[in-house]
């Protein structure tokens, strides 16, 4: 029996190799290219590196949906460059190692000349390195770590703002809005930082601390924790001791919910609480916390309650999202990817092909004023490929919705500060 089984197992392994070979062959037509049959024109294939499995799967998928919708919409409207259809080739990359090898696969196996991605900065670093060395354009739509475009690579572009731009927006908001609302001097404000200690949290918090120091703000404590912690009471007790006026948090979803719930349980009230995107702007954050989320501020990618005249096309996007996936967008990651993808599609439209050199040249001279895209961002790339005109907006949870409160041109209401105590939130 044992022998029979081991032979069976051997056969199974061999079958699997063949099976997945077929699977990968079939997947290319299955992904994203549902409209590619019509039109009869040429199909342009773009690689899409996102984490679809593992811990980052939720936001990876949400980010990809934005890019997917942009492609779908463009194909419905007749494609690019006179009828050419776009097709996305999905490449699941749960970690940097996978991103590296998937980039290699897309480039040399599928002869892809353009790769988009990636939500996660670690993936982006790995994949863009491969793209640059192969002379393939890497177009980042959502990862915020600064070094991605600090390296000054020729073929690496990014439409979304970086973590330093995030930090600047947060400090800018605190400077402009908070002192008046709390009736205190800017330099008297006690600011506490709390962040998860992986790449994302460390980078954003590092910039916040740096800019806060430049502005001579008083940072009273800086608490780093592991995002996989299942208990954050010690973090909250440390915060409680510091009695801050403003808490700036950089968290993923898991820890963002825990931080809020345990703050309530332990009775930690703070007049101003600002999240930095990540978990604090997810719909699941609000769903988990209900009324307790009310009043929490966020500096993040654009959300959906925003001055619509400043963000043309946003309503159309939300409707398309709703029709396609049956729910409202789960965070601003989708629209951010949607906007960046549209910029890229416009450039492809101009160029007429996916030729990396032509695309990178066209990108460098591409310009869009602020207030003309779905996110309200303008587009102008600096010499390192970073979009200078992206910025984080400050939003506030109000009755289950993230309402934009800052800057003025995008805002639909005034920020309500100071925050209500936990017992008063309804």
């Amino acid at each position: 029996m044992r022998k029979v089984k081991s032979v069976l197992a051997l056969v199974l392994v061999i079958m699997l190799v063949f099976l997945s070979g077929c699977g990968s062959g079939g997947s290319q037509s299955a992904s994203g290219g549902s409209q590619s049959a019509s039109g009869g024109g040429e199909t342009l294939k773009i690689g899409a590196i996102y984490p679809f499995t593992g811990g980052a799967a939720l936001l990876g998928d949400e980010s990809f949906r934005g890019a997917e919708l942009a492609v779908k919409l463009r194909n419905q409207k007749g494609g690019v460059a006179g009828g050419k259809k776009i097709e996305l080739s999905k490449a699941d990359s749960p970690d940097a190692n996978a991103a590296q090898s998937q980039a290699n696969r897309l480039i040399s196996q599928e002869n892809i000349q353009l790769i988009i991605g990636s939500y996660s900065s670690a993936l982006s670093m790995a994949a863009s390195e491969v793209a640059e060395r192969n002379g393939v354009v890497y177009w980042e739509l959502g990862a915020i770590s600064d070094p991605i475009t600090d390296r000054g690579y020729k073929y690496v572009f990014r439409t979304n703002p970086t973590s330093s731009q995030f930090a600047q927006s947060e400090i800018g908001f605190i400077k402009e809005v908070v002192p008046a609302k709390l009736g205190k001097n800017l330099t008297d404000l006690k600011i506490a930082l709390v962040h998860e200690d992986s790449l994302y949290g460390t980078t954003v918090a590092g910039f916040i601390e740096k800019y806060a120091k430049e502005e001579k703000l008083n940072v009273v404590t800086n608490q780093a924790y592991n995002m996989n912690s299942v208990d954050l009471s010690s973090v909250i007790l440390n915060l409680k001791k510091a009695q801050p006026d403003v808490v700036i948090a950089v968290s993923y979803l898991n820890d963002a919910i825990l931080l809020t719930r345990q703050s309530k349980e332990l009775g930690f009230d703070v007049p101003v609480f600002i999240g930095s995107g990540g978990g604090h702007t997810m719909t699941d954050f609000q769903k988990a916390l209900g009324a307790d989320a009310n009043g929490i501020l966020n500096a993040d990618f654009p959300q959906y309650e925003i001055n619509k005249s400043f963000t043309p096309g946003l309503d159309e996007f939300v409707k398309l999202y709703q029709d396609t996936y049956g729910t409202a967008p789960r965070s601003g990651h989708s629209v951010t990817n949607f906007m960046g993808m549209n910029v890229l599609l416009n450039i492809i439209d101009q160029v007429g092909s996916l030729d990396p050199d032509k695309i990178q040249a066209a990108a460098r001279s591409y310009k869009l004023e602020p207030g003309k895209s779905e996110t309200g961002w303008g587009v102008e790339f600096n010499d390192k490929g970073q979009n200078k005109l992206g910025k984080a907006y400050v939003t506030q949870w109000t009755d289950g919705k993230l309402v934009t409160v800052w800057p003025k041109e995008a805002a639909v209401q005034e920020p309500k500060l100071p925050l209500l105590k936990w017992s008063e939130r309804k």
């Binding site: 197992a9 199974l12 392994v13 699941d92 040399s108 670690a122 060395r133 790449l199 980078t203």
Partner: protein
């Protein structure tokens, strides 16, 4: 069996020539990358195999030594400009020292408790690497600036990496081969099969466990240095990773623990499989790893000795004469 002219050594010789000639035929970068990853994993898993496959110390913290190697050479390169070739020596020393520090207390533990201890050590080191920002740059990781050259062990093309990896693998195969044929190897296997009996027979078990740890951790450090120079970006989350450790172990387990070529068979099968699975079935997120998990359960429980011993057993049963590299590997599954 006799001397250099046996069928098997001719076969291996041809294989070796083929390996050296491969880059002349394989120009596709993706395949080249996969081949390099196969060799890299085979080497890394081969180093684990000495500790776990031969001496029977089932560690799930092997990424500690791999990561220490990567961090040591990288920090020397980035902070002091020391060539990674010299960094290898520092990495070896660092990794073996930590291996001894971990092994000394942990070898008193048996079976699953040793495994759990290695898991815990691995987690502790990961937390420290994330927290000690002054030294390791914390979670932001270290980005190695790309300066191609022989001295910096960085190259524009994949071929040099291929040969370095191949050299590494050959070294590990050779060392495993000598262990396999030596008294030390017999002691390792004696310890693996029955520790108490080995002790009664007068084998200094702690000393020999330590030997296996030192060899194993040193070789893992070597692969770590290579990895850092190949990927050019290291971070605690990626290099001190428990899942990574179990991947390393899995290659040997699938291929055949305690055999010279088991880790290679495992890597040849699993690395491409992982690559393919990632892009296969992309219509439903998670389906690829779901299948992977199920297959893992079935293969490991139906073929507990791994592929290589299973095949050689089958062949033997049919009465064909095939020499094996196994030494008592078939017995692993009866050890409790």
């Amino acid at each position: 069996m006799r001397g250099l002219l046996s069928k098997k050594s001719i076969f291996l010789f041809i294989l070796l020539i083929a390996a050296f000639a491969l880059p002349n035929f394989l120009k596709n970068k993706f395949y080249m990358n996969i081949v390099i990853m196969v060799i890299f994993y085979a080497a890394l898993s081969g180093s684990w195999n000495i500790l776990a496959g031969y001496a029977g110390q089932l560690s799930l913290g092997h990424s500690i030594f791999f990561g220490l190697g990567a961090y040591t050479s990288t920090l020397l390169l980035v902070k002091m400009g020391v060539s990674p070739w010299l960094g290898i020596i520092a990495a070896l020393i660092m990794s073996m020292a930590v291996g001894a520090l971990i092994g000394y207390p942990a070898f008193r533990l048996k079976g699953p408790f040793f495994t759990l201890a290695t898991l815990a050590f691995s987690e502790v080191i990961r937390y420290i690497a994330s927290f000690w920002k002054e030294l390791t740059n914390g979670a932001m990781g270290i980005n190695i600036p790309f300066k191609p050259g022989l001295a910096t062990m960085m190259f524009r093309t994949k071929e040099p990496y291929y040969f370095i990896a191949l050299g590494m693998l050959l070294l590990i195969i050779l060392i495993t081969f000598f262990i396999d044929r030596s008294k030390m190897g017999s002691y390792f296997i004696a310890i693996r099969e029955n520790e108490d009996a080995a002790e009664v027979l007068g084998i200094p078990i702690t000393r020999y466990k330590m030997y296996s740890m030192l060899i194993s951790s040193g070789l893992a450090a070597l692969t770590g240095v290579f990895y850092a120079q190949y990927i050019l970006f290291i971070e605690p989350e990626a290099v001190f990773n428990i899942n990574f450790s179990s991947q390393i172990a899995l290659m040997s387990i699938i291929g055949g623990m305690g055999t010279i070529f088991g880790p290679i068979v495992g890597a040849v099968l699993l690395v491409p499989l992982n690559e393919i699975m990632r892009s296969a079935f992309s219509s439903l997120n998670g389906l690829n790893f779901f299948i992977y998990g199920i297959v893992l359960i079935i293969v490991v429980s139906w073929m507990p000795n791994g592929i290589l011993p299973t095949i050689t057993n089958q062949v033997k049963k049919r009465g064909l004469k095939v020499s094996t590299d196994r030494k008592g590997a078939g017995k692993i599954d009866t050890a409790n």
